[in-house]
């Protein structure tokens, strides 16, 4: 049984339980238990021991067990049955506990019959504006993505117990009555907006990958499903952006794990299928003339993807897109990237001038004396532009300084190599 298929069923099974009267938090827990059981029993003796939970628990009801080694005929039905039973078990245990505590509460009333796709509502609930980004990401990956707590914990390099707590706190936050306004539509209560959902999916895509789950691929899967259900140019823009970046992934790191900059990448290894799909989605979105941040970023990625060689990159158009991005979100990071593009389009001196203009554009993006530059990668960009302008001594010094401030090992390693390359060059 395909693990991705099992996971993709999670949100609709949660919705079924909620419609039958379970509250979201309990339904989500029950479905998580059912998923863990599905991964264990359907996969048989798994070649990947991570899929097996430690708490094996009692063997499942033989009636529910899939016949022999063959595939389950109705995986969704199986999950609903098992999850509902898990929910009832938990509810009974909970009710017994409440009786012991001499308390009584009404059973929750069944929710209204939904008019819209429940799965989409779950995206909005999990991107609830009251949640921190880390909590929204974790909840989305579990409730919408169908990942197990252990897989999410491994992906973000935290202990499983920590991730479990993060998720249950997140569920308490979204389920808090104070946060649910009367009259809100849908079975999952008050949701966040599209922009919040897109930010969460962007974070999942961008926050690296480790463990046995590919978070980038997971983010694409979730964004694809969102795009299929919501007609919104920025959803399409984000999907296009992800596909265009994912297409370059194989060429982005050398066999020894070091970073390969865009200009040095082997373009023959770019995934043309993903590029074609991303460009098509982007063009359809742009045609609707409701430009947004993700469409503009995807347009820049598409222009890079379109260049057969680094030298043939249409930097003039890329600068124009950065101007659009600056108009949409005037962030120092965008201005920094724009300075790089200006350096390519008009020469390194123009790039350095754009970089100098960045420092005067706002007080927040200006370095205080003796402190690191507040805009990440500013020093690395300055090093690159100085190298292109022929000032190799300054470039080497700035590369070393940038390496010192690098936010991750791959970048530090890359910048150290750049400094080393200039410091150990043979004199002409």
């Amino acid at each position: 049984m395909d693990e991705v298929l099992i996971r993709s069923l999670a949100p609709s099974v949660i919705a079924v339980l909620v419609r039958r009267g379970a509250d979201f938090a309990a339904a989500e827990d029950a479905v998580q238990d059912a998923l863990v059981e599905a991964l264990r029993t359907w996969a048989g003796p798994s070649p990947c021991p991570r899929l097996r939970p430690d708490d094996a628990g009692p063997p499942p009801d033989p009636r529910l067990r899939p016949p022999g080694e063959g595939p389950v005929r109705d995986p969704k039905g199986w999950l609903i049955t098992v999850a509902w039973r898990k929910f009832l078990d938990a509810a009974r245990a909970d009710a017994a506990r409440r009786r012991r505590e001499d308390r009584f509460e009404d059973e929750p009333a069944p929710g209204p019959v939904p008019a819209v796709d429940d799965t989409l509502q779950l995206y909005f609930l999990c991107a609830h504006p009251s949640l921190t980004p880390a909590s929204a990401v974790a909840l989305t990956l579990r409730a919408v993505g169908g990942l197990t707590t252990r897989q999410i914990a491994e992906a973000y390099l935290v202990p499983e117990a920590t991730m479990a707590q993060r998720i249950s706190r997140a569920k308490r936050t979204v389920a808090s009555p104070a946060r649910t306004e009367p009259g809100t539509r849908g079975i999952f209560g008050r949701p966040g907006d599209v922009a919040t959902v897109l930010r969460v999916l962007y974070l999942v895509f961008n926050e690296g990958y480790s463990g046995d789950i590919d978070l980038a691929a997971e983010a694409i899967r979730l964004t694809r499903r969102l795009a299929a259900g919501i007609d919104h140019p920025e959803v399409a823009g984000l999907l296009a952006l992800m596909l265009l970046h994912h297409a370059r992934r194989a060429s982005r790191t050398a066999p020894d794990g070091s970073l390969v900059p865009l200009a040095d990448q082997d373009r023959g290894r770019w995934d043309t299928g993903l590029i074609t799909e991303g460009v098509g989605i982007l063009q359809a979105a742009l045609a609707r003339d409701r430009l947004g941040e993700f469409q503009a970023q995807a347009a820049i990625a598409a222009l890079h993807a379109d260049a057969p060689t680094a030298e043939e990159t249409d930097w003039v158009q890329i600068v124009e897109w950065y101007d659009e991005l600056t108009r949409l979100t005037d962030s120092p990071v965008v201005r920094l990237n724009r300075a790089v593009a200006v350096g390519e389009a008009e020469g390194p001196h123009a790039g350095l001038a754009a970089l100098a203009a960045l420092d005067t554009s706002s007080p927040d993006s200006r370095p205080r004396s003796g402190e690191a530059h507040p805009v990440p990668r500013h020093t690395a960009v300055a090093a690159y532009l100085h190298e292109r302008a022929g000032d190799l001594t300054t470039a080497a010094r700035l590369y070393a300084e940038a390496a010192h401030k690098a936010p991750n090992l791959a970048e530090r390693d890359h910048l150290t190599r750049q400094a080393a390359r200039l410091n150990t060059r043979r004199p002409h």
């Binding site: 020894d256 794990g257 070091s258 003796g370 690191a372 080497a396 590369y399 070393a400 390496a403 010192h404 401030k405 690098a406 936010p407 090992l409 390693d413 150290t416 190599r417 400094a419 080393a420 390359r421 410091n423 150990t424």
Partner: protein
């Protein structure tokens, strides 16, 4: 089994024999160094002795409580801290001798000129939970 922390210092350790800052190495020498470190960790994973390894950014600050209802006091980042940790590896090994042996191997990572750095690493035993049987 006992756990040991192998600490690598930016500053504060005695000077290594092959003391050239990395940005003065050739790119190939950097690659060889990285390869050595990766191979070392991979080998310890295979032998079941690797627990964790992390690197730290060089800049940090001192922070302390400043009384009820007040924000914490921060001081730094300091350019001149005497001791500055660069990163660590945690190993779980049978004996102190094995921990020392492994730290010695890690310290032999190649540096400038492809020669071992002879970097000083700090080896610190973990305090463990009390044993069940004490008498």
């Amino acid at each position: 089994m006992a756990k040991y922390l192998l600490l690598k210092h930016y500053r504060g350790a005695p000077a290594p024999a092959n003391d050239v800052p990395m940005e003065r190495w050739s790119p190939e020498e950097i690659s060889a160094h990285m390869q050595y470190m990766n191979d070392f960790a991979a080998r310890l994973e295979k032998t079941g002795e690797f627990v964790d390894g992390q690197a730290l950014a060089p800049e940090g600050a001192w922070v302390r409580y400043d009384g009820e209802g007040r924000p914490p006091v921060t001081d730094g980042p300091f350019a001149e801290t005497k001791d500055l940790i660069a990163g660590w590896m945690i190993i779980d090994v049978d004996s102190y001798e094995r921990a020392v042996e492994l730290a010695g191997e890690l310290s032999a990572a190649p540096g400038a000129g492809g020669r071992p750095i002879h970097e000083w690493l700090e080896v610190r035993p973990f305090l463990t939970a009390p044993p069940t049987i004490t008498e």
